[in-house]
Point group: C2
């Protein structure tokens, strides 16, 4: 993944965003936190993402140690994606964003954009 904030590496927020600040990744983590663990279910929940993009996001999260890939069927091979400790620890960010969005972006759909 391209590092977006090259000049900001002293800041933990910028380092976090280098991983989760791209399109979709936070919503992938949201769904994994909800217990949505299979590729097809993630694809359905993340209506609008392409299979290639979802696959790339999951691979990055796996490589960076936030997600573990586990086979739950060998014939045919089927994998599920489970949060690691680091992935689970992202929960407070999701909850804070959920709370903020609930209060302050409630009518965002009605805002002219």
């Amino acid at each position: 993944m391209k590092r977006q904030y090259e000049t900001q590496q002293g800041c933990p927020i910028a380092r976090s965003l280098d991983l989760v600040g791209d399109r979709w990744t936070i919503l992938v983590l949201r769904d994994l936190h909800r217990g949505c663990t299979r590729f097809a279910d993630l694809l359905r929940s993340l209506d609008g993402i392409s299979p290639n993009l979802l696959s790339a996001r999951l691979k990055t999260l796996e490589r960076e140690g936030l997600v573990e890939r586990r086979l739950y069927s060998e014939h045919p091979p089927r994998a599920e994606y489970v949060l690691s400790d680091g992935g689970r620890a992202f929960g407070p960010v999701l909850r804070a964003m959920y709370d903020w969005g609930t209060t302050y972006r409630e009518d965002a759909a009605a805002t002219p954009v």
Copy 2:
């Protein structure tokens, strides 16, 4: 601003990301939370952002009610940017991301990317 997550408008996290999920916006909010309020100071802190992009991000935040623009000098005209209630309420998201980044992205700079 382009709405990124058209199909996810039922989710407060996705609605939040429609505003703050683009490049730089969360770091602009970080600096405003730190009390960095003047354009030149923001530009210096956000080393790597262009003046046009910073200006566009501040305008969006102002339009969406997270930031208020106040003149602190009339001759020459100079503005500072102050968080509104909604902008200040984003603090818990920043703190959660800071905590997560401190613990789980500490050595991110050393990770092959």
